[in-house]
Amino acid sequence: MSGFDVRKVRADFPILHQEVRGRPLVYLDSAATAQKPQAVIDAIVRFYQHDNANVHRGVHVLSERATEAYEGARETVRRFINARDAKEIIFVRGTTEAINLVAQTYGRKHIGAGDEILITHIEHHANIVPWRMLCEQTGAVLKVIPVDERGELQLDAVDALMTERTRILAVTHVSNALGTVTPVKELTRRAHAKGIPVLVDGAQAVTHFPVDVQDLGCDFYAFSGHKMFGPTGIGVLYGRMERLEPLPPYQGGGDMILSVTMEKVTYNRVPHRFEAGTPDLAGAVGLAAAIRYLEALGMDAVAAHDQQLLAYATKALESVPGLRIIGQAREKSAVLSFLLDDIHPHDVGTILDREGICIRTGHHCAQPVMQYFKVPATSRASLALYNTTEDVDALVRGLHKVLEVFK
């Protein structure tokens, strides 16, 4: 592939070059967490070796450097998703915290008894549970956009589900369990026509193709560092300034205030209002390094690799007798969820593991998806930019081995 050399990419990821269970490691679980390139690992080490200090507080040189690195990371994220203003980037622990933040600030402020929250049937738990909790707290009602047997959203149902009581639409950009890419831009257009704000769960999207929040038009966009080759414990909530500005604080503590007396607290401006306490500085620095790494490869090239590999893997898996792929959306990202005969996914996972192949088995924290397809669990191979056709071939060989054990 022109401009994208997967051999060179693999060389950047030290963890991939090891044997497990006496076999070369084949890592096909990047939708759960992605591996880290040396550039990210180095950036974190460098930060702790040279620049570590707390931010926004010290007058000394290290604090200046740390503040610069942290706020620089904010600007790097802004550029990556094409937000208008770095102030629209809030650092959080991950996608889950980002969604909870919106539910507990925007939600608590604007959503009351009898109001409706619209999600989809292919959300993972992070984009269900915070809304369920909000419903319990406020008496609001959760409504769900249905899915079809391909794993695509039933768009015909959407307009009727958006009522005058709908207060927010929360939708995943890419389904972690099925790989479905949802038409976020179109959904946002329809929601905005009815005055409904939109939150997009982008955890599985930002690693696979370019994301432009202004083009999508969404109000909030959430994603995690660790799924995009950055560290764990850091993530991003993007929010359009006009949405963020009127929101009350989320958690209370240092840095989210302008002044505190025992009688009165004046809260800081966005984004610091939402970043109570000492943030994950090294995490932000590592995330910025991951973004620079992706930018150097080019997200268009990453997306092309993704699609080529998905096509190859789909064909290869379909050649395995008794294998059924769950989720065949026309627009899909590199996730392959499947069933093999009537062999339980955990047995598939254990046998593959002994071949050095890491996949995910279970409900993928998306139990409603499993319920829709009437399966308790699936096996899931998720591909990333460092995966090759050889990895897919190893998976297919492993699946034949599973069939052998259970013949």
Binding site: I343, H344, R354, T361, G362, P376, V405, F406
Partner: protein, 150 residues
């Protein structure tokens, strides 16, 4: 198959998972419990008819992997016509076997359940093997609520 894999998926295990024994609801049952592993979504129910202290009939139903099904199937066969205390003792033995391995376990007393010995090499699968047993204990204790492996 590598040796530890074949220890895990022994012939008897595969056979019980494909054709589980006592896969039914016991008619007129007087004890029951549900078990659930929230991490993997496995669930099963155990129904029993007791005669005083003796388990006269026992059945299970549910969904899960080969290990959890085989373990449940073997469990029902093993505890039938056993007293509560004997079933409890068997639970302890099986638990030790799947968590620590065969060393120090009276394998003769385990009978067919000895085929679960391979599980100890697969820490991620211990819960699969023990779900049915936790559910049995809950049924014996007459606990109404579902038991969880977590």
């Amino acid at each position: 198959m590598s040796s530890d894999l074949s220890d895990l998926y022994q012939e008897v295990v595969l056979e019980h998972s494909k054709r589980p024994r006592n896969y039914r609801v016991v008619e007129g049952h007087d004890h029951q419990a549900a078990g659930y592993n929230p991490l993997c979504g496995d669930q099963l129910s155990v129904t029993m008819k007791m005669d005083g202290d003796v388990i006269r009939d026992i059945g299970f139903q549910g969904q899960g992997c080969a290990i959890s099904k085989a373990s449940a199937s073997l469990m029902t066969a093993a505890v039938k016509d056993k007293t509560r205390a004997e079933a409890e003792a068997l639970f302890e033995r099986v638990h030790k076997l799947v968590t620590e391995g065969p060393e120090g376990v009276d394998m003769d007393a385990l009978g067919k359940l000895a085929v679960l010995s391979g599980v100890s090499e697969f820490p991620a699968r211990v819960k699969c093997a023990s779900l049915a047993w936790h559910t049995l204990r809950a049924a014996l204790e007459g606990r109404g609520e579902a038991v969880s492996t977590e």
